[in-house]
Symmetry: C2
Amino acid sequence: MSLSEKPIGIFDSGIGGLTVLKEIIKELPAENTVYLGDTARVPYGIRSPETVGKYSIENSDFLMSKGIKVLVVACNTSSSISLLSLKKNLSVPVVGVVEPGARAAVARSRTKKIAVIGTETTIKSDSYKKAIQSADSTAEVTGIACPLFVPLVEEGWLEGDVVTLTAEKYLAGVKDLGVDTIVLGCTHYPMIKDVIADVVKIPLIDSAVETAKEVHNVLRENKILRNNGGEPSREFFVTDSPEKFAETGKIFLGRAISNISKITVGA
Amino acid sequence: MSLSEKPIGIFDSGIGGLTVLKEIIKELPAENTVYLGDTARVPYGIRSPETVGKYSIENSDFLMSKGIKVLVVACNTSSSISLLSLKKNLSVPVVGVVEPGARAAVARSRTKKIAVIGTETTIKSDSYKKAIQSADSTAEVTGIACPLFVPLVEEGWLEGDVVTLTAEKYLAGVKDLGVDTIVLGCTHYPMIKDVIADVVKIPLIDSAVETAKEVHNVLRENKILRNNGGEPSREFFVTDSPEKFAETGKIFLGRAISNISKITVGA
C-alpha cells in the first residue's frame, strides 16, 4: 500500500475526539481514518500525568500497528502530557490539539490576554500557556478548569439551566480579566460552545477546527495527501462496549457510526 | 497471625467507598482495615458489565494477597455485577452494598413502593430490584439513574443551585409514584443526602450504614471479631496518584488519610 493510502490515526480517551475527527473529515474528506476511543479508561482529565502518559503510549502503539501515516492526539489531556515523548518515539508525524489552538488564539487576540478552559489535568499542565507564550512571549494566559463540562456533555445536557449555571460558576470571573479570546481546551467543549459563548460573550477558538487544518498542512508538506478517488474507509476501535459509543458518538460526529470493534490495549 | 487479627478488605472504584469505610470504622472501631480505590480506572458506573467484572476480580485478587478475613465490595456497580461470582470464587465471606440496602428498604417501607437511585450501570443491572423483590416479592421498585451526581460530588459541589437543580431534574417525577422509601444506591450519594432529601421529601436509606451493620453480623457469626485492644491499622492503596485521593478522600472519610500506597492491578 502506498503511504498516501494509509489512514490517519486518531486517538482520544473516549468520544470527545470525535469532534476532531468530524473536522478532519470536513477538511480532508478523501482520507482514510482509524479512530481509537479508550472508553474503558475514560476520563483522562482526572488522572495523574504518569497514568495519562502510560495510556497515551499504549494507544499510540495500537494505532501504529494499524499502519497509520500520521497520528492525531485528539485529547487535550494526552496532548498536554505526552506529545513531546510521542513525537520523539514515533516514526510518523504527530499532531496534538494544543499547539494549533494556541497559535490560532495568538493570531486572533488583540489584547494578548487569552483564557484557556479545560480539564483539571490539562490546565494544571500549563501546556496551553507554554504553547501560547512560545508563539508570543508577551501574551497573558489564564487557565480555568471546568471539570463538570465533560460529564454534562456525556449526559447529553447540552443546553438548559444546569449547564448554563455551571458555565456561569466557572466562567463568571473571566470578563473582569480583559480577555478577548478563549480557547476551548477540551474536545468535549465544542458540543456546548453556544452555551459558553452566551455566558462569556467573548470569541471562542475551537481547537478541533485548528487541528484539522494542521493535519492538512502536515499531509501536504509530507506529500502524502490521498489522491485516490475511491470511497475512504472509516474504522473505529473502543476499549469498552461499542453500543454506547455508537449511540453517543453519532451526536458528536454528526453521522451514524458503524464498523466499531472492541479491543484491549495495554493489559 | 490469628484470623481475627486479619484486616477487613474493602474496595471501590475510587473514593466513594470511603463512605462505607467511615461507617465500618464507626460500627467496628477496633478492626484493622485495608482499602483499595481503583482511581486509575474510576468511574465504573459508565462501563460495560464485562469490564466491571474484570476490574472487580483484579481488585479482589489484590486484597486477598493482603490476607483479609472478609471482603467488602464497597461499590454499587461492582456489587451489582460481580458479587455472585466473587462469593463463589473467594475463600472468605464477601459482603456487597446492594443486599443490606435492599433489606433495610423493605423493612422500612409501608407502601412497598421503593425507588433506587444510582449510576447508569447499577440501575440497568436491576440488582436492587432483584434484591428487594427477593426480600418481598410484592414490592414495586423504580430505578432512576443519576449519572451527574458522582462528578458533582467529586467536584465538591455538595450544595447550592447546580446540585439542587440537577437533583430536581432527576427526581422530580419520583413523588408521583407513591414511593415512601428511596435507597441511595451509590456510595457517593451520602455526601449529598441533605440536598436529595430536600428535593424529594421522602426518607432515604443509606447503604453504607446498612453495609457496616452487615459486616458486623458476618464477623460475629464467623467468630472473627477482633478483640485485641491494640490500635487498629488503616492501610490505603490506590491505582493513581495518592495526593488527590488524600485531598478529596478526607472529606469523604471525615478524617485525614495517611499510609497511602500507589499500586498497579491487573496490568
